[in-house]
Symmetry: C2
Subunit: 344 residues, 2 copies
DNA sequence: TTGTAGGCGTTATCAT
DNA sequence: ATGATAACGCCTACAA
């Protein structure tokens, strides 16, 4: 064994340093840390003292390498820029923490190629399992997950048509229910602001929900006015302004989420339009923002916290070797506030 | 060399697998990946093909272990629950990305003990450097950072009194400037909602800024009505309600940040109080929320993006071996909106 | 330009 | 209960 020159490198104590200091083998130190029960009380105390004195912390990479797992679960969410995923992720993290595993977060900017890269990165970093949002991703991503046998859960969606394990809600049904209320109020000219649909199944489903409701009321779904934008308050505002320029001008704007809706409200205010007097606006998600803006947003309440919590539990179970089990469909409910009313 | 049984373990290709497939040594594969210039075009292509075919991704832990660095920088922020740190962190991440390093985020829940643990965790995970918020933390945390020689930058503060490298703004001066405007408008009864000050130097400094402004106007700083709460809209609302019960009732409530202020606005609305007619409310940070609420919040604009960007640049430089250099003091400016007006 | 081989810090399997 | 010691997957002198 090479003599460690402690004088030049006091900075990074290793297992070996601790062992030397405690007068035991590295194996004993490792056991004291990981399986304390297998070590006698006296030696364990000696080891722990050495650990404290040296300020030792195990090297994560080395540990992962040797143990072949990390107690880490990764999550890739489309964006951190707004609060859409914040609450669910928070609950997810809390539940993971209770299970003794830490969370690694990455964001894909709603781009499948970026997401694919993030998946690889997180797996390379040792993530034992992954939380993914929605079903839309590259075939390569799925191939990679299968090949590496990485346990994963798809959240924020529930699509009976796919066999993949998912924990979420039926975006289409939720939006359809909202749209039905809008139509029941007497609105006949509808507009919507949606996220780019090409790579976002939630956005597609929500839009389809509106169309289904229109059909149900004998309306031609093709009369639905559509504006497509990436999620941001500002984009919501711009899209709303464009919608107000169309003829016939919609009397209700169903936004793909609360962030868009908040932007729509701002723009309405700026244009001197009264909501809901001149035009109704609805959101989706029921994030905190929805209750803060004036008028309050009528929106779809999504059980974000429960979704995060249950996804964590399932992932923890998967890591423990349990079978995937059934997908979970959570219920959404309409959250009525002031932004939706009958047309003038 | 042991024969790898590929049939039972197709899941985790290693450097060796790639080497075998490409008919070269592991060293050549490693070089093709890390220093392509040192490998001939033809072999590199052969190697890359093998990499693709196998879906190989280098094992992060092993790489860190061997290379002794990770190209990863960690950030520990007090909370992810609201958007206070979102914009700065986003800019931080972008700048890091341009430098080819990835970001690892952890949150401390405003708790020094938790932060100390997170520091250890991130360093053990291989973070080459750390972004920390504010100066308040346990002596052990600082001791650990020194001992391990972990480069770090303290952001969100600029305190000339400390020699630590910081990139931020003068919280006290910023709040003092706001308070001076409030006082200049004629307000004489002030209230404030602050985060718990014991372990939060930003909160302490902001409060002290108000007191200094009061002294400057010949007011007794001890007449300042103080409510202490953890940051959340709801807590802001509650604290505001309590403030409105005090006598004399404050005519202006200076909130420790925009989140509190948004809560105050909600509660005012609920109580039938007009802002700024009956009572003025101010925020701090100028996050997106400040422009969305009605009335718009008069607040302190903090250059979050620039702060994040510059912190990233400095950290990158530190990792490259450059000297720490000087602390940076960024300027804040008052953002006038509608929530502040003279008292009735 | 390419290959050989030692070592990075842990864990885990055997012995003892 | 404890100690040797062989992996774990990669990087990097050093050699060729």
């Amino acid at each position: 064994m090479r003599a460690k020159d402690n004088s030049t490198d006091p900075a990074m104590p290793t297992l070996e340093d601790v062992a030397a200091r405690a007068g035991v083998s590295t194996a004993t130190v490792s056991r004291s840390l990981n399986t304390p029960a297998l070590v006698s009380d006296t030696t364990r105390e000696r080891v722990m003292a050495a650990v404290r004195e040296l300020g030792y912390a195990p090297n994560f990479g080395a540990r992962a390498l040797a143990a072949r797992r990390t107690n880490t679960i990764g999550a890739i969410i489309p964006t951190m820029e707004n609060a859409i995923f914040a609450r669910g992720l928070q609950a997810f993290q809390e539940a993971l923490g209770r299970g003794g595993v830490t969370l690694l977060v990455a964001s894909s900017s709603y781009d499948p190629a970026t997401e694919e890269e993030q998946i690889r990165t997180l797996v390379a970093r040792g993530a034992d399992a992954l939380l993914l949002i929605g079903h839309d991703r590259t075939p390569q991503s799925y191939a990679f997950l299968e090949k590496r046998r990485v346990p994963y859960v798809v959240a924020w969606v529930h699509d009976p048509a796919t066999p993949r394990l998912s924990i979420g809600f039926d975006n289409r049904a939720a939006m359809r229910a909202l749209a039905q209320e809008v139509l029941a109020l007497g609105h006949r000219h509808l507009g919507t602001i949606t996220a780019p649909r090409a790579t976002n199944d939630r956005a597609r489903e929500r839009l389809e929900g509106i169309r289904e409701a229109m059909r149900g009321h004998g309306l031609d779904p093709d009369t639905l006015l559509i504006e497509e934008e990436t999620y941001s308050i500002e984009n919501g505002a711009r899209a709303f302004a464009r919608l107000m320029d169309r003829v016939p001008r919609p009397t209700a704007v169903l936004c793909g989420n609360d962030v868009f809706a908040a932007g729509a409200l701002m723009m309405a205010h700026e244009m001197g339009l009264d909501v809901p007097g001149d035009v109704s606006v609805t959101g989706f998600d029921d994030i905190e923002l929805a209750g803060i803006v004036r008028p309050g947003l009528t929106t779809v309440h999504v059980p974000h916290r429960e979704m995060g919590r249950r996804a964590a539990q399932r992932l923890l179970a998967l890591c423990a070797g349990e079978a995937p089990g059934e997908s979970v469909r959570l219920d959404t409910v309409l959250q009525w506030r002031e932004s939706l009313a009958p047309p003038a």
